[in-house]
Protein backbone atom coordinates (compact mmCIF):
# COMPACT_ATOMS: atom_id res chain seq x y z
CA UNK A 1 0.00 0.00 0.00
CA UNK A 2 2.89 2.40 -0.43
CA UNK A 3 3.03 5.06 -3.01
CA UNK A 4 6.52 5.67 -4.25
CA UNK A 5 5.74 8.87 -6.09
CA UNK A 6 4.46 10.38 -2.87
CA UNK A 7 7.42 9.13 -0.90
CA UNK A 8 9.85 10.77 -3.23
CA UNK A 9 7.91 14.02 -3.59
CA UNK A 10 9.85 17.26 -3.64
CA UNK A 11 10.00 18.36 -0.06
CA UNK A 12 9.13 15.03 1.51
CA UNK A 13 5.66 16.26 2.29
CA UNK A 14 2.28 15.30 0.77
CA UNK A 15 0.29 18.36 1.71
CA UNK A 16 1.52 21.62 3.07
CA UNK A 17 -0.96 24.27 4.21
CA UNK A 18 0.45 27.69 4.95
CA UNK A 19 -1.79 30.22 6.73
CA UNK A 20 -4.89 28.86 5.05
CA UNK A 21 -8.30 30.29 5.85
CA UNK A 22 -11.75 29.50 4.55
CA UNK A 23 -14.39 32.15 4.88
CA UNK A 24 -17.95 31.55 3.67
CA UNK A 25 -19.87 34.65 2.76
CA UNK A 26 -23.39 34.15 3.99
CA UNK A 27 -26.39 36.50 3.80
CA UNK A 28 -26.03 37.17 7.52
CA UNK A 29 -22.34 37.97 7.13
CA UNK A 30 -19.09 36.10 6.58
CA UNK A 31 -18.49 32.84 8.47
CA UNK A 32 -14.89 31.92 9.18
CA UNK A 33 -14.74 28.13 9.10
CA UNK A 34 -10.95 27.82 9.11
CA UNK A 35 -8.67 30.66 10.20
CA UNK A 36 -4.95 30.87 9.50
CA UNK A 37 -4.04 27.21 9.78
CA UNK A 38 -0.54 25.98 8.89
CA UNK A 39 -0.01 22.27 8.66
CA UNK A 40 2.20 19.69 6.96
CA UNK A 41 1.34 16.09 6.37
CA UNK A 42 4.20 13.77 5.57
CA UNK A 43 4.03 10.32 4.02
CA UNK A 44 2.98 7.75 6.57
CA UNK A 45 1.60 10.31 9.01
CA UNK A 46 -1.28 9.26 11.24
CA UNK A 47 -3.21 12.31 12.30
CA UNK A 48 -6.49 12.84 14.09
CA UNK A 49 -8.37 16.13 14.13
CA UNK A 50 -10.69 16.74 17.05
CA UNK A 51 -12.72 19.61 18.31
CA UNK A 52 -16.28 20.70 18.98
CA UNK A 53 -18.89 20.62 16.27
CA UNK A 54 -18.64 23.55 13.88
CA UNK A 55 -15.00 24.33 14.66
CA UNK A 56 -13.93 23.78 11.05
CA UNK A 57 -12.63 20.20 11.07
CA UNK A 58 -14.52 19.09 7.94
CA UNK A 59 -13.67 22.28 6.09
CA UNK A 60 -9.96 21.81 6.85
CA UNK A 61 -10.15 18.16 5.78
CA UNK A 62 -11.89 19.15 2.54
CA UNK A 63 -9.15 21.67 1.82
CA UNK A 64 -6.47 19.05 2.45
CA UNK A 65 -8.40 16.78 0.06
CA UNK A 66 -8.60 19.46 -2.65
CA UNK A 67 -12.40 19.58 -2.77
CA UNK A 68 -12.49 22.95 -1.07
CA UNK A 69 -10.25 25.90 -1.88
CA UNK A 70 -8.83 28.22 0.76
CA UNK A 71 -9.93 31.86 0.59
CA UNK A 72 -6.50 32.85 1.91
CA UNK A 73 -3.11 31.19 2.31
CA UNK A 74 -1.54 28.57 0.08
CA UNK A 75 -2.04 24.87 -0.13
CA UNK A 76 0.64 22.80 -1.80
CA UNK A 77 -0.14 19.25 -2.79
CA UNK A 78 3.09 17.43 -3.54
CA UNK A 79 4.71 20.76 -4.14
CA UNK A 80 2.17 22.19 -6.57
CA UNK A 81 -0.15 25.02 -5.62
CA UNK A 82 -3.69 23.61 -5.64
CA UNK A 83 -5.15 27.03 -6.44
CA UNK A 84 -3.44 27.00 -9.82
CA UNK A 85 -4.85 23.60 -10.82
CA UNK A 86 -7.89 23.30 -13.07
CA UNK A 87 -10.96 21.40 -11.96
CA UNK A 88 -9.91 18.55 -14.22
CA UNK A 89 -6.38 18.46 -12.77
CA UNK A 90 -7.75 18.49 -9.24
CA UNK A 91 -10.10 15.62 -10.10
CA UNK A 92 -7.17 13.62 -11.43
CA UNK A 93 -5.11 14.40 -8.36
CA UNK A 94 -7.90 13.22 -6.07
CA UNK A 95 -8.42 10.14 -8.19
CA UNK A 96 -4.81 9.00 -7.99
CA UNK A 97 -3.40 10.50 -4.79
CA UNK A 98 -6.22 10.93 -2.30
CA UNK A 99 -8.74 8.55 -0.80
CA UNK A 100 -11.92 9.72 0.94
CA UNK A 101 -13.95 7.89 3.54
CA UNK A 102 -17.24 9.46 4.60
CA UNK A 103 -19.39 9.20 7.69
CA UNK A 104 -22.32 8.06 5.56
CA UNK A 105 -20.22 5.73 3.36
CA UNK A 106 -21.81 6.96 0.09
CA UNK A 107 -21.47 3.63 -1.65
CA UNK A 108 -23.47 3.40 -4.85
CA UNK A 109 -26.52 1.34 -3.89
CA UNK A 110 -27.07 -0.20 -7.32
CA UNK A 111 -23.53 -1.60 -7.47
CA UNK A 112 -22.13 -4.61 -5.63
CA UNK A 113 -19.23 -4.31 -3.18
CA UNK A 114 -16.95 -5.51 -5.96
CA UNK A 115 -18.24 -2.94 -8.45
CA UNK A 116 -18.00 -0.13 -5.90
CA UNK A 117 -14.33 -0.93 -5.35
CA UNK A 118 -13.68 -1.36 -9.06
CA UNK A 119 -15.31 1.92 -10.04
CA UNK A 120 -12.47 4.38 -9.20
CA UNK A 121 -10.01 2.06 -10.94
CA UNK A 122 -12.10 2.09 -14.10
CA UNK A 123 -12.23 5.88 -13.87
CA UNK A 124 -8.42 5.84 -13.64
CA UNK A 125 -8.27 3.61 -16.75
CA UNK A 126 -6.69 0.67 -14.94
CA UNK A 127 -6.69 -2.42 -17.17
CA UNK A 128 -9.41 -5.02 -16.62
CA UNK A 129 -7.15 -7.85 -15.38
CA UNK A 130 -5.30 -5.48 -13.07
CA UNK A 131 -8.64 -4.17 -11.77
CA UNK A 132 -9.84 -7.70 -11.07
CA UNK A 133 -6.65 -8.52 -9.20
CA UNK A 134 -6.66 -5.31 -7.21
CA UNK A 135 -10.35 -5.50 -6.30
CA UNK A 136 -9.98 -9.07 -5.07
CA UNK A 137 -6.93 -8.06 -3.06
CA UNK A 138 -8.69 -5.07 -1.49
CA UNK A 139 -11.86 -6.93 -0.56
CA UNK A 140 -9.76 -9.58 1.11
CA UNK A 141 -7.70 -6.87 2.80
CA UNK A 142 -10.83 -5.42 4.42
CA UNK A 143 -12.12 -8.90 5.23
CA UNK A 144 -14.99 -8.98 2.75
CA UNK A 145 -13.63 -11.36 0.12
CA UNK A 146 -16.76 -13.48 0.48
CA UNK A 147 -19.19 -10.55 0.17
CA UNK A 148 -18.02 -9.28 -3.20
CA UNK A 149 -21.40 -9.77 -4.89
CA UNK A 150 -23.44 -8.15 -2.16
CA UNK A 151 -25.12 -4.81 -2.61
CA UNK A 152 -24.66 -2.17 0.11
CA UNK A 153 -28.25 -2.81 1.25
CA UNK A 154 -27.23 -6.39 2.06
CA UNK A 155 -24.27 -5.28 4.20
CA UNK A 156 -24.08 -3.99 7.77
CA UNK A 157 -22.85 -0.48 8.51
CA UNK A 158 -19.40 -1.71 9.46
CA UNK A 159 -19.20 -3.80 6.29
CA UNK A 160 -20.28 -0.85 4.17
CA UNK A 161 -17.57 1.29 5.72
CA UNK A 162 -15.01 -1.43 5.02
CA UNK A 163 -16.09 -1.50 1.37
CA UNK A 164 -15.80 2.29 1.36
CA UNK A 165 -12.25 2.04 2.73
CA UNK A 166 -11.38 -0.51 0.04
CA UNK A 167 -12.85 1.86 -2.55
CA UNK A 168 -10.81 4.77 -1.16
CA UNK A 169 -7.63 2.69 -1.44
CA UNK A 170 -8.43 1.44 -4.95
CA UNK A 171 -5.93 3.61 -6.79
CA UNK A 172 -3.21 3.33 -4.10
CA UNK A 173 -3.46 6.89 -2.76
CA UNK A 174 -0.66 8.26 -0.58
CA UNK A 175 -3.21 10.07 1.58
CA UNK A 176 -6.46 8.79 3.05
CA UNK A 177 -8.91 11.32 4.51
CA UNK A 178 -11.77 10.24 6.72
CA UNK A 179 -14.51 12.45 8.16
CA UNK A 180 -16.08 10.81 11.19
CA UNK A 181 -15.65 7.31 9.72
CA UNK A 182 -17.15 5.68 12.82
CA UNK A 183 -19.83 8.32 13.31
CA UNK A 184 -22.65 6.03 12.21
CA UNK A 185 -21.31 2.85 13.80
CA UNK A 186 -21.67 1.28 17.24
CA UNK A 187 -18.66 1.06 19.55
CA UNK A 188 -17.51 -2.46 18.69
CA UNK A 189 -17.91 -1.95 14.94
CA UNK A 190 -16.14 1.39 15.24
CA UNK A 191 -13.31 -0.38 16.94
CA UNK A 192 -13.00 -2.78 13.99
CA UNK A 193 -12.88 0.12 11.55
CA UNK A 194 -10.25 1.82 13.72
CA UNK A 195 -8.14 -1.33 13.62
CA UNK A 196 -8.50 -1.54 9.87
CA UNK A 197 -7.49 2.12 9.44
CA UNK A 198 -4.49 1.46 11.70
CA UNK A 199 -3.43 -1.30 9.39
CA UNK A 200 -3.89 0.92 6.32
CA UNK A 201 -1.56 3.43 7.95
CA UNK A 202 0.93 0.79 9.00
CA UNK A 203 1.02 -0.36 5.38
CA UNK A 204 2.22 3.08 4.35
CA UNK A 205 -0.76 5.36 3.64
CA UNK A 206 -0.84 8.70 5.40
CA UNK A 207 -4.07 9.07 7.34
CA UNK A 208 -6.01 12.14 8.46
CA UNK A 209 -9.12 11.36 10.46
CA UNK A 210 -11.67 13.84 11.74
CA UNK A 211 -13.33 12.23 14.73
CA UNK A 212 -15.12 12.62 18.02
CA UNK A 213 -14.24 9.03 18.81
CA UNK A 214 -11.73 9.00 21.66
CA UNK A 215 -10.55 5.49 20.82
CA UNK A 216 -10.02 6.32 17.18
CA UNK A 217 -8.16 9.57 17.94
CA UNK A 218 -6.02 7.77 20.51
CA UNK A 219 -4.44 5.58 17.86
CA UNK A 220 -3.07 8.57 15.92
CA UNK A 221 0.50 9.71 16.36
CA UNK A 222 -0.47 13.35 15.86
CA UNK A 223 -3.65 14.64 17.47
CA UNK A 224 -4.77 18.10 16.44
CA UNK A 225 -7.41 19.92 18.46
CA UNK A 226 -9.28 22.73 16.76
CA UNK A 227 -11.39 25.53 18.16
CA UNK A 228 -13.16 28.28 16.21
CA UNK A 229 -11.34 27.48 13.01
CA UNK A 230 -7.88 27.48 14.57
CA UNK A 231 -5.55 24.77 15.73
CA UNK A 232 -5.61 24.96 19.50
CA UNK A 233 -2.98 22.32 20.11
CA UNK A 234 -1.11 19.47 18.53
CA UNK A 235 0.02 16.48 20.54
CA UNK A 236 2.58 14.10 19.07
CA UNK A 237 3.31 10.65 20.38
Amino acid sequence: MTNDSVRSSVNGCIVEATHVSRIFSMPAGPVTAVADVSLRIAPGDHMAIRGPSGCGKSTLLHMLGCVETPTAGTLLFQGSDVATLSDRQRSLLRLRQIGFVFQRFFLLPMLTAWENVELPQAEAHVSKPERRRRTQELLEYVGLGARADHRPSELSGGEMQRVAIARALANRPGLLLADEPTGELDGATGEQIATLLDRVNADGTALVIVTHDQGLAGRATRVLTMRDGRIESEVQS
Binding site: S91, R96, Q103, F106, R167, D179
Partner: protein, 393 residues
Amino acid sequence: MAFAWRSLVRQPARASLGVVGVAAVGALLFDMLLLSQGLVISMRDLFERVGFDVRVTASDALPGQGPLLANAVAHASAIAHLPSVRAAIALRLANAVVQKNGARGQYTAFQGVAGTGAHPWTILRGHDIGSGPDLIVNENTSRRAGVQPGDRVTVRAFCSGDTQALPPVPFTVTGVAEFPFDTPNGTTVATSLDMLANTCGGNETGEADMILVAAREGTSPDAAAAEVVTIVPELRVFSNEQVVSRLEGGGFTYFRQISTVLTTVTLSFAVLLITVLLTVSVNQRLGEIAALRALGFSRWRVVADVLCESILIVGGGGLLSLPLGALLAAGLDRILKRIAGIPADVHFFVFEPGALQVHLLLLVATAILAALYPIRIVARLPIAATLRDEVIG
Protein backbone atom coordinates in the same frame (compact mmCIF):
# COMPACT_ATOMS: atom_id res chain seq x y z
CA MET B 1 -23.82 3.87 -20.43
CA ALA B 2 -23.97 0.68 -18.33
CA PHE B 3 -23.58 2.86 -15.27
CA ALA B 4 -26.42 5.11 -16.35
CA TRP B 5 -28.55 2.03 -16.99
CA ARG B 6 -27.93 0.80 -13.46
CA SER B 7 -28.84 4.20 -12.08
CA LEU B 8 -32.08 4.14 -14.02
CA VAL B 9 -33.24 0.68 -13.02
CA ARG B 10 -32.78 1.72 -9.40
CA GLN B 11 -36.05 3.54 -9.81
CA PRO B 12 -37.92 1.29 -12.25
CA ALA B 13 -41.23 3.08 -11.81
CA ARG B 14 -39.72 6.45 -12.54
CA ALA B 15 -37.74 5.19 -15.50
CA SER B 16 -40.82 3.47 -16.93
CA LEU B 17 -42.84 6.63 -16.53
CA GLY B 18 -40.22 8.45 -18.57
CA VAL B 19 -40.10 5.79 -21.25
CA VAL B 20 -43.89 5.58 -21.55
CA GLY B 21 -44.15 9.36 -21.65
CA VAL B 22 -41.59 9.60 -24.41
CA ALA B 23 -43.25 6.72 -26.28
CA ALA B 24 -46.59 8.55 -26.26
CA VAL B 25 -45.09 11.90 -27.16
CA GLY B 26 -42.81 10.27 -29.72
CA ALA B 27 -45.76 8.52 -31.37
CA LEU B 28 -47.54 11.86 -31.73
CA LEU B 29 -44.37 13.47 -32.98
CA PHE B 30 -43.85 10.73 -35.52
CA ASP B 31 -47.43 11.15 -36.74
CA MET B 32 -46.98 14.89 -37.05
CA LEU B 33 -43.96 14.29 -39.23
CA LEU B 34 -45.86 11.81 -41.38
CA LEU B 35 -48.74 14.27 -41.60
CA SER B 36 -46.61 17.25 -42.56
CA GLN B 37 -45.51 15.61 -45.82
CA GLY B 38 -48.17 12.92 -46.21
CA LEU B 39 -50.55 14.60 -48.61
CA VAL B 40 -47.82 15.91 -50.84
CA ILE B 41 -46.04 12.58 -51.02
CA SER B 42 -49.15 10.60 -51.76
CA MET B 43 -50.28 13.11 -54.40
CA ARG B 44 -46.89 12.72 -56.05
CA ASP B 45 -47.26 8.93 -55.91
CA LEU B 46 -50.70 9.15 -57.38
CA PHE B 47 -49.55 11.30 -60.28
CA GLU B 48 -46.77 8.90 -60.96
CA ARG B 49 -49.07 5.91 -60.99
CA VAL B 50 -51.48 7.58 -63.43
CA GLY B 51 -48.62 7.48 -65.90
CA PHE B 52 -48.60 11.09 -67.12
CA ASP B 53 -45.72 13.42 -66.36
CA VAL B 54 -46.91 16.81 -67.57
CA ARG B 55 -50.26 18.55 -67.52
CA VAL B 56 -51.30 21.45 -69.76
CA THR B 57 -54.16 23.76 -68.73
CA ALA B 58 -55.57 27.10 -69.76
CA SER B 59 -55.26 28.67 -66.30
CA ASP B 60 -53.92 28.09 -62.80
CA ALA B 61 -57.37 27.10 -61.52
CA LEU B 62 -58.03 23.67 -60.07
CA PRO B 63 -58.95 20.97 -62.63
CA GLY B 64 -62.53 21.40 -63.82
CA GLN B 65 -62.88 24.91 -62.44
CA GLY B 66 -60.93 26.96 -64.97
CA PRO B 67 -61.77 27.97 -68.53
CA LEU B 68 -61.70 25.30 -71.20
CA LEU B 69 -58.69 24.80 -73.36
CA ALA B 70 -59.61 25.60 -76.96
CA ASN B 71 -58.37 23.24 -79.69
CA ALA B 72 -57.27 20.81 -77.03
CA VAL B 73 -57.46 17.82 -79.37
CA ALA B 74 -55.32 19.53 -81.99
CA HIS B 75 -52.83 20.63 -79.33
CA ALA B 76 -52.70 17.12 -77.90
CA SER B 77 -51.89 15.58 -81.23
CA ALA B 78 -49.21 18.24 -81.91
CA ILE B 79 -47.71 17.62 -78.49
CA ALA B 80 -47.78 13.85 -79.06
CA HIS B 81 -45.48 14.36 -82.05
CA LEU B 82 -42.77 16.06 -80.01
CA PRO B 83 -39.58 13.97 -79.75
CA SER B 84 -39.58 13.93 -75.93
CA VAL B 85 -43.26 12.95 -75.73
CA ARG B 86 -44.58 9.41 -75.82
CA ALA B 87 -48.29 10.15 -75.59
CA ALA B 88 -50.72 12.99 -74.98
CA ILE B 89 -54.42 12.92 -74.22
CA ALA B 90 -57.00 15.64 -73.85
CA LEU B 91 -59.26 15.28 -70.84
CA ARG B 92 -62.54 17.05 -70.29
CA LEU B 93 -64.42 17.04 -67.01
CA ALA B 94 -68.17 17.42 -66.57
CA ASN B 95 -70.94 15.96 -64.45
CA ALA B 96 -73.77 13.71 -65.44
CA VAL B 97 -76.79 11.75 -64.30
CA VAL B 98 -76.62 8.14 -65.42
CA GLN B 99 -79.89 6.26 -65.58
CA LYS B 100 -80.73 2.67 -66.44
CA ASN B 101 -84.15 2.20 -68.06
CA GLY B 102 -86.35 4.35 -65.83
CA ALA B 103 -84.57 3.56 -62.53
CA ARG B 104 -83.44 6.39 -60.29
CA GLY B 105 -80.60 8.37 -61.87
CA GLN B 106 -77.13 8.36 -60.36
CA TYR B 107 -75.19 11.61 -60.23
CA THR B 108 -71.58 11.09 -61.34
CA ALA B 109 -68.42 12.82 -62.47
CA PHE B 110 -68.15 12.56 -66.24
CA GLN B 111 -64.85 12.42 -68.12
CA GLY B 112 -64.10 12.50 -71.82
CA VAL B 113 -60.71 11.64 -73.30
CA ALA B 114 -59.13 11.92 -76.73
CA GLY B 115 -55.66 11.33 -78.09
CA THR B 116 -52.89 8.76 -78.05
CA GLY B 117 -51.73 6.77 -75.05
CA ALA B 118 -53.37 4.71 -72.36
CA HIS B 119 -56.51 6.09 -70.76
CA PRO B 120 -56.06 7.40 -67.23
CA TRP B 121 -58.00 4.53 -65.66
CA THR B 122 -57.65 0.79 -65.14
CA ILE B 123 -60.26 -1.59 -66.55
CA LEU B 124 -61.48 -4.06 -63.91
CA ARG B 125 -64.23 -5.87 -65.86
CA GLY B 126 -65.50 -5.75 -69.43
CA HIS B 127 -63.51 -3.72 -71.94
CA ASP B 128 -62.43 -0.16 -72.62
CA ILE B 129 -64.40 2.36 -74.66
CA GLY B 130 -64.21 2.34 -78.43
CA SER B 131 -65.20 5.19 -80.73
CA GLY B 132 -68.98 4.80 -80.37
CA PRO B 133 -71.34 5.78 -77.55
CA ASP B 134 -69.42 3.60 -75.07
CA LEU B 135 -69.30 4.32 -71.36
CA ILE B 136 -67.11 2.94 -68.61
CA VAL B 137 -68.15 3.32 -65.00
CA ASN B 138 -66.42 2.93 -61.65
CA GLU B 139 -67.47 0.35 -59.06
CA ASN B 140 -69.53 2.82 -57.03
CA THR B 141 -71.54 3.82 -60.12
CA SER B 142 -71.93 0.22 -61.16
CA ARG B 143 -73.34 -0.68 -57.77
CA ARG B 144 -75.51 2.36 -57.16
CA ALA B 145 -76.98 2.71 -60.64
CA GLY B 146 -77.17 -1.08 -60.97
CA VAL B 147 -75.28 -1.12 -64.27
CA GLN B 148 -72.95 -3.83 -65.60
CA PRO B 149 -70.92 -4.15 -68.82
CA GLY B 150 -73.39 -4.64 -71.68
CA ASP B 151 -76.17 -2.54 -70.09
CA ARG B 152 -77.75 0.31 -72.00
CA VAL B 153 -78.10 3.58 -70.12
CA THR B 154 -78.94 7.23 -70.73
CA VAL B 155 -76.61 10.06 -69.74
CA ARG B 156 -77.71 13.64 -69.10
CA ALA B 157 -74.69 15.88 -68.91
CA PHE B 158 -74.05 19.08 -66.92
CA CYS B 159 -71.31 20.85 -68.78
CA SER B 160 -69.21 23.91 -67.99
CA GLY B 161 -71.12 27.14 -68.36
CA ASP B 162 -74.36 25.38 -69.37
CA THR B 163 -77.16 25.76 -66.93
CA GLN B 164 -79.97 24.46 -69.12
CA ALA B 165 -80.93 20.81 -68.89
CA LEU B 166 -79.53 18.83 -71.77
CA PRO B 167 -81.39 15.96 -73.38
CA PRO B 168 -80.43 12.44 -72.31
CA VAL B 169 -78.11 10.57 -74.68
CA PRO B 170 -78.06 6.76 -74.94
CA PHE B 171 -74.77 4.93 -74.08
CA THR B 172 -73.67 1.32 -73.73
CA VAL B 173 -71.65 0.39 -70.65
CA THR B 174 -68.58 -1.49 -71.87
CA GLY B 175 -66.63 -1.92 -68.68
CA VAL B 176 -66.02 -1.16 -65.02
CA ALA B 177 -62.81 0.70 -64.27
CA GLU B 178 -60.84 2.19 -61.43
CA PHE B 179 -60.14 5.92 -61.66
CA PRO B 180 -57.01 7.01 -59.78
CA PHE B 181 -58.46 10.23 -58.40
CA ASP B 182 -61.74 8.73 -57.17
CA THR B 183 -62.71 9.39 -53.58
CA PRO B 184 -63.83 6.33 -51.59
CA ASN B 185 -67.51 7.13 -52.20
CA GLY B 186 -67.08 8.95 -55.50
CA THR B 187 -68.98 8.00 -58.65
CA THR B 188 -67.30 8.46 -62.02
CA VAL B 189 -68.07 7.55 -65.63
CA ALA B 190 -66.03 8.18 -68.77
CA THR B 191 -66.30 8.15 -72.52
CA SER B 192 -64.47 9.61 -75.48
CA LEU B 193 -64.05 13.38 -75.72
CA ASP B 194 -66.24 13.46 -78.85
CA MET B 195 -69.07 11.60 -77.16
CA LEU B 196 -68.83 13.86 -74.11
CA ALA B 197 -68.95 16.95 -76.35
CA ASN B 198 -71.89 15.41 -78.13
CA THR B 199 -73.69 14.82 -74.83
CA CYS B 200 -72.88 18.39 -73.83
CA GLY B 201 -74.78 19.67 -76.87
CA GLY B 202 -71.99 19.36 -79.39
CA ASN B 203 -71.07 23.05 -79.35
CA GLU B 204 -67.68 22.71 -77.68
CA THR B 205 -65.96 20.23 -79.98
CA GLY B 206 -62.25 19.82 -79.47
CA GLU B 207 -62.22 21.66 -76.15
CA ALA B 208 -60.94 20.11 -72.90
CA ASP B 209 -59.96 20.98 -69.34
CA MET B 210 -56.42 19.70 -69.66
CA ILE B 211 -53.95 17.80 -71.73
CA LEU B 212 -52.03 15.03 -69.99
CA VAL B 213 -48.60 14.31 -71.45
CA ALA B 214 -46.40 11.25 -70.91
CA ALA B 215 -42.68 11.78 -71.45
CA ARG B 216 -40.77 9.33 -73.56
CA GLU B 217 -38.74 6.66 -71.74
CA GLY B 218 -35.46 8.19 -70.61
CA THR B 219 -36.67 11.77 -70.91
CA SER B 220 -37.14 13.80 -67.76
CA PRO B 221 -40.62 15.24 -67.13
CA ASP B 222 -39.09 18.70 -66.87
CA ALA B 223 -37.42 18.35 -70.27
CA ALA B 224 -40.73 17.22 -71.79
CA ALA B 225 -42.53 20.11 -70.11
CA ALA B 226 -39.96 22.54 -71.48
CA GLU B 227 -40.50 21.21 -74.98
CA VAL B 228 -44.29 21.36 -74.66
CA VAL B 229 -44.07 25.03 -73.66
CA THR B 230 -42.38 25.87 -76.95
CA ILE B 231 -45.43 24.86 -79.01
CA VAL B 232 -48.16 26.07 -76.64
CA PRO B 233 -46.53 29.15 -75.06
CA GLU B 234 -49.91 30.65 -74.20
CA LEU B 235 -50.88 27.70 -71.96
CA ARG B 236 -49.89 26.62 -68.46
CA VAL B 237 -47.53 23.66 -68.56
CA PHE B 238 -46.56 21.92 -65.34
CA SER B 239 -44.73 18.73 -64.59
CA ASN B 240 -46.21 16.64 -61.76
CA GLU B 241 -43.35 17.80 -59.60
CA GLN B 242 -44.32 21.42 -60.25
CA VAL B 243 -47.96 20.72 -59.48
CA VAL B 244 -46.96 19.05 -56.23
CA SER B 245 -44.69 21.89 -55.24
CA ARG B 246 -47.50 24.34 -55.96
CA LEU B 247 -49.71 22.30 -53.65
CA GLU B 248 -46.94 22.38 -51.10
CA GLY B 249 -46.77 26.15 -51.37
CA GLY B 250 -50.55 26.45 -51.27
CA GLY B 251 -53.19 24.87 -49.08
CA PHE B 252 -50.97 22.03 -47.95
CA THR B 253 -48.81 24.42 -45.94
CA TYR B 254 -51.58 24.45 -43.33
CA PHE B 255 -50.80 20.85 -42.56
CA ARG B 256 -47.15 21.72 -42.19
CA GLN B 257 -47.95 24.65 -39.93
CA ILE B 258 -50.37 22.68 -37.80
CA SER B 259 -47.93 19.86 -37.42
CA THR B 260 -45.08 22.24 -36.62
CA VAL B 261 -47.08 23.83 -33.83
CA LEU B 262 -48.24 20.49 -32.45
CA THR B 263 -44.74 19.07 -32.72
CA THR B 264 -43.31 21.95 -30.73
CA VAL B 265 -45.94 21.65 -28.02
CA THR B 266 -45.55 17.88 -27.87
CA LEU B 267 -41.78 18.04 -27.64
CA SER B 268 -41.93 20.69 -24.95
CA PHE B 269 -43.96 18.28 -22.85
CA ALA B 270 -41.45 15.51 -23.42
CA VAL B 271 -38.58 17.80 -22.46
CA LEU B 272 -40.41 18.92 -19.32
CA LEU B 273 -41.26 15.39 -18.28
CA ILE B 274 -37.72 14.09 -18.68
CA THR B 275 -36.23 17.19 -17.07
CA VAL B 276 -38.44 16.74 -14.02
CA LEU B 277 -37.69 13.02 -13.75
CA LEU B 278 -33.95 13.49 -14.11
CA THR B 279 -33.87 16.45 -11.75
CA VAL B 280 -35.70 14.54 -9.04
CA SER B 281 -33.39 11.59 -9.57
CA VAL B 282 -30.25 13.73 -9.47
CA ASN B 283 -31.39 15.59 -6.37
CA GLN B 284 -31.86 12.29 -4.58
CA ARG B 285 -28.30 11.30 -5.36
CA LEU B 286 -26.46 14.54 -4.61
CA GLY B 287 -24.48 12.92 -1.76
CA GLU B 288 -23.36 10.03 -3.92
CA ILE B 289 -22.43 12.36 -6.75
CA ALA B 290 -20.44 14.63 -4.44
CA ALA B 291 -18.69 11.55 -3.02
CA LEU B 292 -17.76 10.38 -6.51
CA ARG B 293 -16.41 13.82 -7.29
CA ALA B 294 -14.38 13.78 -4.05
CA LEU B 295 -13.02 10.39 -5.09
CA GLY B 296 -11.76 11.97 -8.28
CA PHE B 297 -14.52 11.46 -10.82
CA SER B 298 -14.34 14.30 -13.29
CA ARG B 299 -17.13 16.78 -13.74
CA TRP B 300 -17.49 15.53 -17.30
CA ARG B 301 -17.97 11.98 -16.07
CA VAL B 302 -20.89 12.79 -13.77
CA VAL B 303 -22.41 15.04 -16.44
CA ALA B 304 -22.09 12.27 -19.02
CA ASP B 305 -23.95 9.90 -16.70
CA VAL B 306 -26.92 12.23 -16.52
CA LEU B 307 -26.85 12.68 -20.29
CA CYS B 308 -26.71 8.91 -20.79
CA GLU B 309 -29.70 8.44 -18.53
CA SER B 310 -31.62 10.96 -20.57
CA ILE B 311 -30.60 9.24 -23.79
CA LEU B 312 -31.62 5.85 -22.43
CA ILE B 313 -35.07 7.07 -21.42
CA VAL B 314 -35.64 8.95 -24.66
CA GLY B 315 -34.11 6.15 -26.72
CA GLY B 316 -36.32 3.50 -25.11
CA GLY B 317 -39.39 5.65 -25.51
CA GLY B 318 -38.35 6.57 -29.04
CA LEU B 319 -38.14 2.93 -30.07
CA LEU B 320 -41.60 2.23 -28.68
CA SER B 321 -42.95 5.35 -30.34
CA LEU B 322 -42.43 3.99 -33.86
CA PRO B 323 -44.87 1.05 -33.82
CA LEU B 324 -47.20 3.11 -31.63
CA GLY B 325 -47.06 6.01 -34.06
CA ALA B 326 -47.64 3.74 -37.05
CA LEU B 327 -50.77 2.28 -35.44
CA LEU B 328 -52.05 5.71 -34.51
CA ALA B 329 -51.35 7.05 -38.00
CA ALA B 330 -53.29 4.23 -39.63
CA GLY B 331 -56.26 4.92 -37.36
CA LEU B 332 -56.18 8.68 -37.83
CA ASP B 333 -55.79 8.32 -41.59
CA ARG B 334 -58.97 6.26 -41.75
CA ILE B 335 -60.86 8.83 -39.68
CA LEU B 336 -59.62 11.86 -41.61
CA LYS B 337 -60.37 10.28 -44.95
CA ARG B 338 -63.91 9.56 -43.88
CA ILE B 339 -64.33 13.29 -43.24
CA ALA B 340 -62.66 14.74 -46.32
CA GLY B 341 -63.66 13.96 -49.89
CA ILE B 342 -60.24 13.08 -51.21
CA PRO B 343 -59.10 10.35 -53.61
CA ALA B 344 -59.03 6.93 -52.01
CA ASP B 345 -55.37 6.55 -52.87
CA VAL B 346 -54.33 9.78 -51.19
CA HIS B 347 -53.22 9.49 -47.55
CA PHE B 348 -52.71 12.08 -44.85
CA PHE B 349 -50.02 10.04 -43.12
CA VAL B 350 -47.32 8.70 -45.38
CA PHE B 351 -44.07 7.12 -44.27
CA GLU B 352 -40.83 8.23 -45.86
CA PRO B 353 -37.25 7.74 -44.61
CA GLY B 354 -36.81 11.48 -44.19
CA ALA B 355 -39.51 11.51 -41.52
CA LEU B 356 -37.65 8.84 -39.58
CA GLN B 357 -34.47 10.89 -39.73
CA VAL B 358 -36.17 14.03 -38.48
CA HIS B 359 -37.89 12.00 -35.78
CA LEU B 360 -34.53 10.68 -34.64
CA LEU B 361 -32.95 14.11 -34.73
CA LEU B 362 -35.76 15.67 -32.71
CA LEU B 363 -35.58 12.90 -30.12
CA VAL B 364 -31.83 13.34 -29.74
CA ALA B 365 -32.41 17.07 -29.30
CA THR B 366 -35.09 16.25 -26.71
CA ALA B 367 -32.70 14.03 -24.77
CA ILE B 368 -30.03 16.71 -24.72
CA LEU B 369 -32.39 19.58 -23.96
CA ALA B 370 -34.08 17.63 -21.16
CA ALA B 371 -30.72 16.82 -19.61
CA LEU B 372 -29.52 20.46 -19.58
CA TYR B 373 -31.01 21.48 -16.26
CA PRO B 374 -30.03 18.36 -14.27
CA ILE B 375 -26.61 18.53 -15.93
CA ARG B 376 -26.27 22.07 -14.67
CA ILE B 377 -27.05 20.91 -11.15
CA VAL B 378 -24.46 18.17 -11.34
CA ALA B 379 -21.80 20.29 -13.01
CA ARG B 380 -22.11 23.09 -10.47
CA LEU B 381 -22.42 20.83 -7.46
CA PRO B 382 -20.21 22.21 -4.65
CA ILE B 383 -18.51 19.04 -3.44
CA ALA B 384 -17.57 20.00 0.11
CA ALA B 385 -20.83 21.79 0.89
CA THR B 386 -22.87 18.88 -0.45
CA LEU B 387 -20.94 16.31 1.57
CA ARG B 388 -21.48 18.45 4.65
CA ASP B 389 -25.20 19.00 3.97
CA GLU B 390 -25.72 15.28 3.47
CA VAL B 391 -24.30 14.52 6.91
CA ILE B 392 -26.13 17.33 8.68
CA GLY B 393 -29.40 17.00 6.78
